[in-house]
């Protein structure tokens, strides 16, 4: 972690001036378990992607088909909702 800034160095009013800097906050350490993706079972229904509260499911084209392609483990907090909504057993908490 970078050293803490002084009162003179921070923006006023607690404002966050760097758009999207929550990307610097790797909350993956919060998870005691995280999901493993089995791409072979994925049908590309995108339920997991739509439900994930932290936008941690990566997607892309696999053999010309839209599929989930991976998990952003540095952010995934291990809530397990993706596993709960996947109807195809493509995700498992480990």
């Amino acid at each position: 972690m970078s050293p803490l800034k002084t009162a003179r160095e921070i923006p006023i009013g607690g404002m966050i001036v760097e758009p999207g800097n929550s990307l610097n906050y790797h909350t993956g350490s919060w998870a005691s378990k995280q999901p493993r993706l089995d791409i072979a079972k994925c049908t590309g229904c995108a339920f997991c992607m739509n439900y994930c509260p932290d936008d941690c499911i990566k997607s892309g084209q696999v053999d010309g088909q839209f599929r989930a392609t991976g998990i952003k483990y540095e952010y995934c907090k291990g809530c397990g909702v993706c596993v709960a909504v996947c109807k195809f057993d493509a995700l498992k908490m480990e």
Binding site: L4, K5, T6, A7, R8, G13, G14
Partner: protein
């Protein structure tokens, strides 16, 4: 002295246990970190049938205070709890409760005001409302919370006072820390607080009254002077009630607590949990031969000017620590009131304002030692921030 039972209680547990033993007619509740456990514990007591209290869940703290006002105006004994933004939200009604001269007790787990949002302990919330006519007492640890809550009922209801009382404790630092608390028996507490004496504030169809009218330029000032007179009358009454409670617990209370002040050359003035940490520092520095002492105010309203100045006059230099910034003021709120009191009494003690601990920033023994050492070295800085990255 009465029998006690040893408990492992947080400050929140201590407050809610006192409320349970007091068994008020009404408790209005709304959650707010870090006081939530107070009203949550009490909800469990209500559900388990351990109290006869009517528990009113309101939609906001403003309504909580309104409900408490209604309950007391109708003749009931009522209590509640809040913190920070909740206290700020109910501020309008906090003034009303005092203006209507309604006895009630509110536990506040002191927490930083927004913005930015911070859930941790500092005194900005109590400072916000300190001039609204509530008696304000501070508790160093869960044991003091317990005892202050019980005494507060008698103080607020005393016929010469009839002002609401706020019992403060440091958010998280005290409210969430488990410590040993020696609690009295239910009967002892019940006997001490007694039945509320009903006078005009009662839904009495035989003797109807109007509460909360409009007062124009012809009367408003008189009513407010009357209210301030009650505050000053409290200065005579509070020691009596505390003396009565002392017979039960064997402890001394008072406007302030002095620690190793008799031959001190310099002193720190600080309220609440930090005073506890400071006592350890006093002992450590005394072992090095440094003549330091501590003054811990218990009440800030009414402001015990005579007692505080008498104590401060014992030293040549003092640092007054405020756990809140009064933005734009020359120093903290307690510092300013004390400076004024000193000046009015021709005091010669050189005083310094210390601003510390905002938003739950830890105040360590090393920090406090630094403040004492600064005093011993004749530090001339009028306002000093301790613990901030400047």
């Amino acid at each position: 002295m009465s029998d006690t039972t040893k408990k492992a209680f947080t400050g929140a547990d201590a407050a809610s246990w006192a409320m349970k033993q007091i068994n008020p007619d009404v408790v209005a509740a709304y959650p707010m970190t870090p006081q939530t456990a107070i009203v949550q514990n009490f909800a469990r007591y209500v559900a388990d049938g351990l109290v006869d209290t009517e528990y009113v869940t309101a939609e906001s703290e403003h309504s909580v205070m309104s409900a408490t006002i209604g309950a007391v105006a109708a003749g009931g004994r009522a209590m509640t709890a809040t913190s920070s933004a909740g206290l700020a939200l109910m501020a309008e009604m906090v003034g009303v409760a005092s203006g209507l001269r309604l006895p009630m007790v509110m536990a506040v787990a002191n927490r930083a005001l927004s913005a930015p949002i911070n859930i941790h302990g500092d005194h900005s919330d109590v400072y916000l409302v300190k001039d609204l006519g509530w008696i304000q007492v501070f508790s160093e640890d869960p044991q003091e919370v317990y005892e202050n809550m019980i005494m507060a009922v008698r103080i607020s209801e005393h016929p010469d006072i009839q002002l609401p009382v706020e019992v403060n404790q440091d958010g998280f630092i005290t409210s969430h820390a488990v410590e040993r608390v020696d609690v009295l028996e239910d009967a002892t507490v019940q006997e001490f607080v007694g039945q509320k004496k009903l006078d005009k504030y009662l839904l009495d169809l035989e003797h109807p009254v109007t509460i909360g009218p409009l007062e124009l330029q012809d009367y408003y000032f008189e009513t407010q002077k009357q209210r301030n007179d009650a505050m000053f009358k409290a200065m005579e009454v509070i020691p009596q009630i505390e003396a009565e409670f002392s017979k039960i617990t064997g402890k001394i209370y008072g406007w302030l607590e002095e620690y190793r002040m008799d031959d001190a050359e310099v002193a720190i003035v600080v309220m609440s949990s930090t005073a506890g940490t400071a006592k350890g520092v006093v002992d450590a520095m005394r072992e090095q031969g440094k003549k330091v002492g501590l003054i811990k105010p218990r009440y800030i309203r009414p402001f015990p000017a005579d007692a505080l100045v008498a104590s401060l006059k014992k030293v040549k230099r003092a640092a007054v620590m405020d756990r809140a910034i009064s933005f734009g003021a020359e120093g903290g709120a307690l510092f300013n009131e004390l400076s004024s009191a000193m000046y009015q009494r021709d005091g010669q003690t050189h005083m310094q304002s210390i601003l510390f601990g905002l938003g739950g920033r830890d105040i360590t023994p090393a920090d406090i030692e630094g403040i004492f050492q600064g005093l011993l070295d004749g530090d001339e800085q009028l306002i000093k921030y301790v613990g901030v990255r400047e």
